[in-house]
């Protein structure tokens, strides 16, 4: 328990609140999913929350994040509006994208969440371009780009890292390596287990955090973010992690046979939510949990009660002004 003395209790509470909130929101999504009220495929982050929370707790409100279809954790960790998120999943006009994006395209620009894409790898260059504009404006903010190990297979990943290093852009790349792209093991797609080393060859510091320890992720993020803010250019973190549920949908997928239950159970044993919870008093935990529960109930009832978009909305927002 030497850890506890070194860490700041306020931070532990923040971690716990954020991890707990994401987990409970997604468990509620999984619970509701069979009712078909959620009009969107869902790629749950359950098991992977520590990456988003560790990074986003190190960011400022004005910093920007870009993510993927597996983006609930990033959206919530960065402070995204929960009501608008659930309404978006329900396809309601009150959703963060007015129901036109769904679970895979969460956005909340007021909190620096600049969107998510369902085409693997496509947000990496966009995040890089945003970082170019920040540097051009001599802004003190930075960009964090989240993507999976599958995105590393795409050309745009490599093109973007090269450009970001070349122009010394204020961007932190975060590869959430959960070993799989759908059911394809990363060593079926990559010659070597060295994603973070490959990033280094483009000209940026990089590091792998192999055990999902949220404190390590947070500390590494802080270290690199400080350098990025000093104008030293991009950095890269590869965070090993584990998706507990199936690739898309609310269920387990051990019946498919592409991975063993053991592979996942060792991550479940070290669940950061449980570990962080143990660092707090029962009273503190319960206080946090009951607040989150209320917030979740309110968000789902907001989504339930909200209207669907009306017919004429179908042509709205194709262009700034309709043609």
């Amino acid at each position: 328990m030497s850890k506890i003395s070194k860490i700041n209790l306020g931070l532990t509470e923040r971690f716990y609140r954020s991890l707990y909130r994401i987990r409970k929101v997604e468990e509620e999504i999984a619970r509701i999913y069979p009712t078909d009220k959620i009009k969107s495929p869902v790629h749950l982050s359950i098991g992977q929350e520590a990456v988003s929370v560790g990074i986003c707790e190190a960011l400022r409100l004005k910093d920007k994040v870009f993510g993927t279809y597996r983006g609930h954790a990033m959206y919530l960790a960065k402070g995204g509006d929960l009501k608008k998120m659930i309404a978006e999943l329900y396809g309601k006009v009150t959703g963060c994208a007015k129901g036109k994006g769904g679970s895979m395209h969460l956005i909340d620009t007021n909190h620096g969440i600049m969107g998510a894409s369902a085409i693997v790898g496509t947000m990496i260059p966009v995040a890089t371009g945003y970082a170019y504009a920040l540097r051009y404006r001599k802004s003190n903010s930075l960009v964090a780009a989240f993507f999976g190990d599958g995105a590393v297979d795409e050309g745009a990943f490599h093109e973007s890292l090269n450009f970001a290093a070349l122009k010394k852009l204020p961007i932190l790349f975060i590869c959430e390596n959960n070993t799989y792209a759908i059911h394809s093991h990363h060593l079926k797609r990559h010659h070597s287990d060295n994603i973070f080393i490959r990033a280094r060859t483009y000209g940026m510091p990089s590091e792998r955090i192999g055990d999902g320890d949220i404190f390590k992720i947070y500390r590494a993020a802080n270290k690199y973010i400080a350098k990025i803010r000093q104008g030293k250019g991009p950095a890269f973190l590869e965070c090993l992690t584990c998706r507990w549920k199936e690739h898309v949908g609310p269920n387990d997928d051990f019946d498919l046979g592409y991975r063993s239950e053991d592979e996942v159970s060792c991550w479940k044993k070290n669940d950061p939510l449980k570990e962080i919870g143990l660092l707090l008093s029962t009273a503190t935990r319960e206080r946090i949990e009951s607040k989150v529960q209320v917030e979740i109930e309110e968000a789902f009832s907001f989504a339930e009660k909200s209207p669907f978009p009306s017919k004429e909305k179908i042509y709205q927002d194709v262009f700034a002004k309709s043609l």
Partner: protein, 347 residues
Amino acid sequence: MRILTYPEAVREATDQEMSIDPSVIVLGQGVDDPKAILGTTKGLAAKFGPTRVFDTPLSEDAMTGVAIGAALAGLRPIHIHIRMDFMLLAMNQLVNMVAKMRYMFGGSVSVPIVIRSIIGKSWGQGPQHSQSIYPLFMNIPGLKIIAPSTPYDAKGCLINAIRDNDPVIFIEHRLLYYQKSYVPAKPYTTAFGKARILSKGRDITLVGISQMAIECLRASIYLFKETGIRAEVIDPVSLAPLDIDTIARSVKKTGRLIIVDNAWVPCGLGAEIISRLLVESKLKGFVAQRMGFAHTTCPTTPALEKYFYPNAQSIAMKAYQICRPGKKHWRPNTKLKIEEVEFKGPF
């Protein structure tokens, strides 16, 4: 009246907008090199510095994403491809991303980017440096597609594109770079969605896209000088949004129409215009023909390339057949010096 060439007009529009608005930046392969995209970016790097005008790695896909990201952050990037063919490497960002971003994020973002690209032709451009893929983009909601044929419209449309809050694909043509026309010195905008009538006529309507507008203009001179047929030549300028009303008014008057695509014919602007005249404008009883690239790969040798593109003679002959059905074959006298033909106004 001040006369400028097409590349001078493009350069001037860029220079003026960059001077007015510090959020305008220019990126692309070769934008700061000695040839400066055929002169269209000449002097800009020296004047505005390397953060506003920069060469890019050969990464068309990611650099399109970079331009999009910069636009999300409020910049107004102009991303340039010296050949339109290279845009095919950026289709993912253009079709899956930029065309959809405003919509899929419920209107919470704007992506004001301009993609400039130049269509190649002749001097052995061959299979991979001559393509003109605007019909692919016309099928995609969320993109504005502009292809002006005159220096006057090039300047006005480019300024309008830069100021527009949506993604604009701005299509130039290598052979249009020889065109000259009256171009006002001050900045001005040419609104999208308005076709330009390049010459008036009552017998047949010729709609020419990009450089084919000039071929149509040349054809109209053959037709008038040698046969007395008066062709009305229309440059749509803006392909999306398309000004179908101007074309419909013309066809209502002439009853005859040829659309000369600067691309392959199937699913092209010809198909689009004829269907819209029938379905939306409810025109009946007009005669229509489509012309465009021969439906084969563009050959490099001039011996074959000359059969690949429509030209003033082939357009004039097709128009003559439509206007004088049953009359004996007519071939224009190519000794008429019309290579220099260009539309100088009035605008």
